[in-house]
Each structure stands twice: as C-alpha cells, then as structure tokens.
Symmetry: C2
C-alpha cells in the first residue's frame, strides 16, 4: 500500500498504519469517487471492494461516469468513518472524531474476465455474505459484463498514493442527546 | 431549489421532489466535497449544514482544500444514504437501495460576519443540539474566523443545480445476515 503523509497540513492527524487503513477500506460500504469533467468536479457514491491492493467498482458502461473515466482517468476515491462529535465549552472548538482515507490513481475498465470475476465475487462476499451457495461463474460474469442489453462493466482504480487522517474520539467528551455544556461545567467535566 | 433531472441516464431513478432532497440534505451528517486540482480530482468528507438554500462548511483558511477553492471555485457536493442491499437469485442483479443528491455550484469563503454566525449556529444546532444554553455570539465567531492563530473560515457552496437519484428499497428482498438464495427459492420468495 503506497501510503504517504505528504501534503497533509495537520501532520498530527496523519495516519500511516496500513492495517488501520485496510480496516477502513474493507469495512466501509460506500466510497465517493471523484472525477474531473473539464474544470468541474463530479463525485459519485459507490459500493466498492478493496481487492488485490486496488479499488474495484462496477457500473454502467455508458452514462456520465463512464464517459468521464475514459476522457480523464485520474480519480480520487474517498471513504470516511465519522465516529461522532467532540463537545467543547467553547463553541468554536466543537470538533468531529473521524477516520478518513483518500485513494488517488487512475481508473479504467477491467478487460480481463478472470479479474472481473474475482472482483465481483469479492463484492458479493462483502455485500451479501453467504447468500449464494456456490461461487460466481466466469460465464455468468461474461454475460453480465458483455451480454447484449447488459452494458455493465467492472472498473479498477489502481492506487498511486493513499493518504489517511484520523481525529480520534475522546469518549469522555463525545456528544449525546441531552448532554449540555452547563451540566458538564457543573460536574467539573470541562 | 434548482433541481434538474437532466443528464441522469436512468430517468426512472431521478428524483425531483424538493422535500425528499431537503430531508436528505438536512439529515445527512457527512457530505463529500469535490474540487479540481489541475486535471486531478480531490474529494474531502465534511460536516455541513443546508442553510438558506446553500451548503455551508467550515475548515482551515489554509491547506490544500482552501487553496484549491480559491484557484478553482467550481465544486460538487455529494451526499448519499445507503438503505441496504437488494438480493436477487441472479448474482449480477444484486443491487443497492439508496438515495443520493449532488449539488453543483461555486464555493467561496463567507466574508459577512452575520452570515458566518448564522451558518455556524445552524451547524451547532445540527451536531450538538441543546448543548449550549445561549445562542452563538458574532463576537465569538469573529475571533473564531479571524482571530490570530485561529485561521478558520466558513465557506458557502452556492448551488447552481441539484440532481438526485433514488433506488427504493423492497423490504421483502433486502439482504440480512443469514439470508440465503436457497431458502428464498425454497419458500418461493424469489
């Protein structure tokens, strides 16, 4: 995993622990794919799988996302886990506890049938674990990715660099409904 | 709300109900801001508030996000609510139920103190409702947004167009742990 902490302004929040990043990549259900359309950004939420050190998604062979990818393959893929809100008696110091990772690289359609099958099998294991009693057949994938009227494709974002940031929670001061600054101050909590 | 369904390939999934979109904009805790850095996209997860028909976020006055915004103010802001996975006996027809909205427009730093105060007050109401017993003072915001050593700013994304898509859930076929295709077929569910 090509993790870098370069370019992160607050270095104290930078994460370079590959296991922490892999946990986030494997447990997050939705990632946000950024593409460029001329001088305008485009961000689309997608289910995905972290598989063989790459991000795989699937989607239409046609449509805005597919045409942007072929015009401009540079992609960003961002996932975040929001843990909660950190309270503070000073309003401006209210903060969020989170873990986030950004994967930068190039995205392209997967042409190899075995690779597409393996990625889709991994996606099924992630989103419908145990639902099917037999593994995915490449023949099914072939009809799926290239069958007439199907027009669905698998895409691979090959990471060139990954950055991650974490603002850890402090369980003693996390917000919950009913928590008030007045009570926190009275009991000497803050 | 300048909602458009243009450019959405699957028109049957397009949403133009302003109330549904507003509900998503007001209840989602994290949105994904897309910016353009030359020919490379950048996507950052942010807490935000939908306020006065615009997206407000806050963040550092410096750093990559801030410098990108001033170079290239065109922005996309995407939020999604993933409802769950829709099972199907045919693996390729496994699908996701979701509601998503994309806000496109220009983002810029809020210079007006009253506007910044009002947006931050609305953010506090969203993320720490009831925590403070008095409303936010503009004096506090002034020291917050322009105080020495603070360097924090409020940004407004002024929507030029909003698109939304929904793939509704079908509660009879949503995946849950332990659900299997074999059992679904046996009881004639699929």
């Amino acid at each position: 995993m090509n993790i870098t902490t370069e370019g992160i302004r607050k270095q104290n929040l930078a994460v370079d622990d590959a296991d922490a990043i892999e946990h986030l990549l494997r447990t997050s259900r939705v990632g946000y794919l950024g593409l460029v359309d001329g001088d305008e950004p485009y961000v689309v939420p997608l289910n995905f799988i972290w598989h063989r050190e790459a991000i795989y998604v699937h989607g239409a062979q046609y449509g805005r996302k597919a045409s942007l990818m072929s015009q401009s393959p540079k992609a960003a893929f961002t996932i975040a886990h929001e843990i909660g809100t950190i309270t503070h008696p000073v309003p401006a110091k209210t903060d969020t506890a989170y873990l986030t990772a950004m994967v930068f690289g190039r995205i392209s359609m997967v042409e190899d049938l075995n690779e597409a099958t393996s990625a889709l099998e991994a996606m099924l294991c992630k989103y419908v674990p145990g639902y099917y009693d037999s593994p995915l057949h490449s023949g099914h994938v072939q009809s799926y990715v290239s069958g007439a009227g199907s027009h669905v494709a698998v895409y691979r974002l090959q990471p060139e660099r990954i950055t991650a940031k974490e603002n850890p929670e402090d369980m003693s001061v996390m917000f919950y409904p009913g928590r008030t600054r007045t009570a926190d101050v009275q009991r000497g909590r803050r």
